[in-house]
């Protein structure tokens, strides 16, 4: 890893180890906003990681930012960190000012249609991440990046399996604060949203493995730690494989984003990390036994996130189908040359 990444890794590890605890999760799920945690994210430059330095950001590339996104999955801070990273990048790319508030992005789902007419945005967006806590939404629609202030009275609270806010937001002729044309495709939020979720999934799978390895070493049955049983070792080794492939897939996507359009790598990463999450959550809970099924235990804060994130911004099947149709369209003789060309940095 580069020196920059080592420093970043140290920063996020220290910050989240201190500020994201079992209590933080419990409080957030009861509706308390973790103000100290959010301030620390902002003060350490994480929220504006992808924004150029001249615009007040950290000026990191995607490959370095992967460290933050993965840590957001490993520790699961209950704040819109990756959404603000994405939103601020979109605004900066579009040459727009970045407001000083937590951000979200909309629409989060492909079947929600938001329309810009004149200086207002209309439509309803479901499952908007952290909608109730975000001061502003970055909307991508009709070839434009649009910044809109969120009106709390138009937000209906909802949540995913992990009880992370996924709210319904009614844009009832909401005023456009700023807008600019973008070259991103109409479903660009799906692509970049999936990329962040893939990194979070990779981090979460890694956490699930670490918790499970630790538990298996502590839990004694039949006079031995269960980690000493071959059956358990085989489970954990398979999980390590899923952890490694999820990490490699997600990092591949972030690296591709530094080179150009990462759509294929993001699609691949969302499939592979989603598959890894499905395997790791099952195995993690199997090894933990009944205690892992309790609300008291830390594991379920990770596994419920993994089940949520694997579905958000397109499930495995949605992205696999896109890859499959593309590959089928190109024909059997093309997929290998296409793959080697892309992975050599010659984006097809």
């Amino acid at each position: 890893m580069s020196e920059m990444r080592d420093i970043l890794n140290d920063t996020v590890t220290r910050l989240f180890t201190d500020l994201v605890t079992r209590e933080t999760f419990g409080d957030a799920e009861s509706g308390t906003w973790p103000d100290q945690l959010w301030s620390a994210c902002v003060e350490n430059g994480l929220t504006l990681a992808l924004v150029p330095e001249e615009k007040g950001g950290a000026g990191l590339g995607w490959a370095d930012s992967f460290v933050i996104a993965r840590a957001a999955g490993y520790y699961g801070p209950p704040v819109p960190l990756v959404e603000t990273m994405l939103g601020s990048w979109l605004l900066a790319e579009a040459g727009l000012e970045i407001p000083d508030s937590p951000l979200t992005v909309a629409p989060a789902r492909t079947d929600d249609n938001l329309q810009v007419s004149g200086n207002t945005v209309k439509g309803t967006a479901k499952a908007v991440p952290w909608g109730r806590h975000a001061g502003h939404a970055v909307v991508l629609t009709g070839g434009q990046i649009v910044l809109v202030a969120l009106n709390p009275s138009k937000v209906t609270e909802d949540c995913n399996i992990a009880r992370e806010p996924r709210d319904t937001v009614v844009f009832d002729n909401a005023s456009v604060i700023a807008s600019a044309a973008t070259s991103l495709p109409s479903d660009g939020l799906q692509v970049y949203g999936a990329m962040f979720r893939a990194a979070q999934l990779a981090g979460g799978v890694s956490r699930c493995l670490d918790e499970t390895v630790k538990y298996a070493g502590d839990r004694v049955q039949f006079s031995r730690p269960i980690a000493k049983y071959q059956a358990i070792q085989q489970y954990l080794a398979a999980m390590a494989g899923d952890m490694a492939s999820a990490g490699a897939a997600a990092e591949m996507a972030f690296r591709a984003a530094d080179r150009g359009d990462p759509r294929f790598e993001v699609a691949s990463a969302k499939v592979v990390t989603g598959d890894a999450a499905s395997n790791a959550t099952s195995t993690g809970h199997q090894v933990h036994g009944a205690i892992g099924f309790t609300y008291e235990h830390i594991l379920q804060f990770t596994t419920r996130r993994l089940w949520s994130w694997r579905a958000e911004f397109g499930a495995e099947s949605r992205w696999a189908e896109e890859i499959g149709r593309q590959v089928a369209g190109r024909g059997a003789n093309a997929f290998w040359p296409d793959l080697t060309a892309r992975q050599s940095g010659m984006l097809a």
């Binding site: 890893m1 890694s206 493995l209 670490d210 390895v213 298996a216 070493g217 980690a227 000493k228 071959q230 358990i232 070792q233 085989q234 954990l236 080794a237 398979a238 390590a240 494989g241 952890m243 490694a244 492939s245 990490g247 490699a248 897939a249 990092e251 591949m252 690296r255 294929f264 790598e265 699609a267 691949s268 990463a269 499939v271 592979v272 598959d275 495995e316 099947s317 992205w319 696999a320 189908e321 896109e322 890859i323 499959g324 149709r325 593309q326 590959v327 089928a328 369209g329 024909g331 059997a332 003789n333 997929f335 290998w336 793959l339 080697t340 992975q343 050599s344 940095g345």
Partner: protein
């Protein structure tokens, strides 16, 4: 878990530049081989092909020039072998020699041994087989019993090796024998030897596999005399040497690309009329392929940087086998073909072959359970 981090590794432009060359070579030389033949991947061999490949400079790529090699980098070799695998080239005969026996001799062999073997390997004319497993020693390799007893000027060997791929067509074996039997620790007292397969008392008996092929063998040693200058490396250091040989054996792209011709055939079938279900299925395979390739490149990068790839290689081999073994099942479910071995379509024949062969992918070169044991050790569980 830092020890399981797969540092991204890009192929340098110099390596990437070889891709066109090897693709041209394959386009010119692969037409005689049907998809069914090519579906054998690196388990299928043809002496004529190996010779042409050697002539073109694509074998022994990393060997020093004085042994007929080409002094290429590990990453240049990687590009060539992944293209050979992607096209299903019949590489089996020289594969072991190029992958592990040659590098082993370069690490531990004597000058004489290198001069005797390596130029022929690089020409694609000298083949090696692996003498590790025995009838009573599979995964528990340290329990081997074939004994090499020191006599004047050499060793007398008695015992049996098994599952020896292509032994009946190979010129040499790198064999692991027990040279001391009274040691307390079973990992000690073993040594590696370079065995000329024409040695009196050495007999290869082909074993027919379930797909009907005569590919692997039982090799018996009956009072076979092995001259002392055929000892490879140090007497008693066989176990450590074998572990570094296994690192070469387990870490290459063949551990996720053995079913590649079936993937090609499946994409061809699906392309005719893609449905949501078939697109999802092949898309998932391609997503995992892209990821496995990144991981495999990372292992190659580790090797190139002189790091030990054993743990990372075990992870890729385990994941690769899962991916490859899923493929015939997915092809079966999607296409619902009913493979006919004689008169079927190319797709049916390829599916028929890989369905049978795939079960060996999590056995050969280290079983799934052994690999996961290595990974569990990496996790600190053992």
């Amino acid at each position: 878990m830092d020890s399981l981090y797969f540092e991204p590794c890009d192929l340098p432009p110099k390596a990437e530049a070889l891709r066109g060359e090897i693709r041209d070579f394959l386009a010119d030389n692969l037409s005689p081989y049907s998809p069914e033949v090519r579906s054998r991947s690196w388990a299928g061999g043809d002496p004529e092909f190996s010779q042409k490949l050697g002539e073109a400079g694509f074998i022994g790529m990393r060997f020093p020039k004085k042994y007929g090699g080409h002094e290429r980098s590990a990453m240049e070799r990687y590009v060539v072998i992944e293209e050979l695998l992607a096209s299903g080239a019949p590489v089996a005969l020289h594969w072991i020699a190029d992958r592990q026996s040659g590098p082993l001799l370069l690490n531990y062999g004597t000058e004489k041994q290198r001069e005797m073997c390596l130029p022929g390997v690089a020409k694609g004319e000298t083949y090696f087989c692996i003498g590790m497993s025995e009838p009573d020693s599979g995964s528990d390799l340290a329990s081997i019993r074939t004994k090499a007893v020191k006599v004047d000027g050499g060793y007398i060997v008695n015992g049996t090796k098994i599952w020896t791929s292509e032994a009946h067509r190979c010129h040499y074996m790198i064999a692991l024998f027990r040279t001391a039997s009274d040691v307390e620790e079973k990992h000690k007292g073993m040594s590696q030897f370079l065995v000329d397969m024409n040695t009196p008392g050495v007999t290869a008996r082909p074993i027919r596999n379930m797909a009907g092929e005569q590919m692997f063998n039982e090799v018996s040693f009956v009072d076979a005399f092995i001259p002392e200058d055929m000892l490879v490396g140090e007497e008693g250091k066989g176990w450590q040497q074998v572990l570094s040989e296994l690192a070469f054996e387990r870490s290459g792209p063949e551990r996720y690309m053995s079913s590649h011709i079936l993937l090609h055939a499946l994409v061809r079938e699906v392309s005719q009329n893609p449905t949501e279900r078939s697109a999802v299925a092949i898309g998932r395979l391609i997503a995992h392929l892209a990821t496995l390739r990144q991981m495999s490149l990372s292992v190659a990068g580790m090797q190139d940087a002189g790091q030990d790839p054993s743990l990372a290689g075990s992870v890729v081999k385990d994941l690769g086998a899962i991916y490859e073994q899923d493929m015939p099942k997915i092809a079966h479910e999607l296409i619902g073909a009913d493979p006919q071995l004689m008169g079927g379509s190319d797709f049916e024949k390829v599916l028929g072959y890989v369905t049978q062969a795939a079960i060996s992918f999590s056995l050969r070169g280290g079983t799934r359970e052994i690999l996961r044991g290595i990974i569990a050790r990496g996790l600190g569980l053992r």
